[in-house]
Symmetry: C2
Subunit: 216 residues, 2 copies
DNA sequence: CAGTGTGAAGCGCTTCACAGCT
DNA sequence: AGCTGTGAAGCGCTTCACACTG
């Protein structure tokens, strides 16, 4: 419905939702855009603008009802229903992600693990049997997998991404240290941890001269 | 030296460096900005502009010498010297990161692991003894730690970040599912995996209507 | 009066287009 | 001719400021 929403705004909506969850837990009932801004590392104007892309959620002179706004944000982000996710690549990182409690806590259910290594296939990881990639399409359908998390080696990333797309999965979170490009109709989010370190390294070399609480 | 460089440009420089590494390995000697752009998911104009923040690296009419440009980028990003990093939090994720081969391969050496849990302290993780957080300042100095990777629970993230700053470490890569704000003089990079999933979830709900190869 | 919703101004990044080397 | 380096134009996000409302 919204005509044009900046990606950065969506990112911030996630943070607002998180901040509101905390406030709700603390028993706060009402909050102003300025307060949300403070807690989410922005400002009130930005918060109001971001919300305005999706509707009117506040009461003038009063602020926002915490639980109400949070529910709205969850609806916007599609967080009301849980999502099933598959982890592809059962190496160190993949294995750790299978057991990462944060996913389950926020409604993302890891329901399948895949790997191509015959030595790994069949073994169990936190109760999930590791499946061969050949079964991806089948399992994606039967287990209603919405998102694939890629924890595969660099050289395999793009190939696997394409197979994920063929399997009908329309969202990919890529941890391989290579920027993969999205097959048509698929959303890709690249999280190259090594690049993040390189990025930090840049600021360290600038260091002495201008380093002052950068962010990213 | 550069007056004002967009953060996005730095991020792209990391990708260019990566692309050039591949080209170098493939034995390519010369490359145009247009080619780099294609390989790094941008365009030639962007590549040239990004490079122009730091100097003149190309030959008109010819392009760039791959190995030469790559060396220049590595210098800009501070990648010539290795960097020692500490991992804080020896849970699932932290443990996996200690063993992540990508770090070492790109010149980031994991030289210390910390955790506050007495049950974990003293145990070994890939040859590294898990140390208590109380020793952070001491070890940061003796082992010349440049970057701290936080893999701690949500509630501890900000507190630990502040202690990292006190220990004299000036760069933090934060994996806790909470946006932490940087102590003065410290660069922070927040990589909340759960938020990434929420971000993807948004596009899935938009889905039917407008989903077409988004990126992030 | 306190605080939202929003058009408009401001600003920074990206894209364009072309002069200038090779 | 081919391709870089770059001022200037274009564009989109953020910030401002204020009308409006409870």
């Amino acid at each position: 419905m919204p005509s044009k929403v900046p990606q950065a705004a969506i990112r911030r909506l996630c943070r607002y939702q998180q901040v509101l969850a905390q406030l709700e837990q603390d028993g706060v009932e009402t909050v102003s855009s300025a307060d949300i801004g403070r807690l989410a590392a922005t400002n009130g104007a930005q918060v109001r603008k971001d919300l305005s892309y999706f509707g009117d959620f506040g009461r003038r002179g009063l602020g926002y009802k915490v639980s109400e706004l949070r529910a709205q944000l969850r609806a916007i982000l599609g967080l009301e229903r849980g999502r099933n996710v598959a982890i592809i690549g059962a190496g160190n990182l993949g294995s750790a992600l299978v057991g990462y409690p944060g996913f389950e806590m926020r409604g993302f259910h890891v329901v399948a693990v895949f790997d191509n290594d015959p030595a790994k296939v069949g073994r169990r990881l936190r109760g999930l049997r590791i499946l061969p990639l050949t079964r991806l399409t089948e399992v994606a359908a039967t287990k209603d997998i919405a998102i694939a998390i890629l924890a595969v080696p660099e050289f395999a990333a793009q190939i696997v991404a394409d197979r994920v797309a063929e399997a009908g999965i329309r969202a990919i979170l890529n941890f391989a240290p290579r920027h993969i490009h999205a097959p048509p109709g698929v959303v890709v989010c690249n999280v190259d941890m090594t690049s993040q370190l390189e990025f930090l390294s840049y600021f360290l070399t600038q260091g002495e001269t201008e380093l002052e609480a950068e962010e990213c």
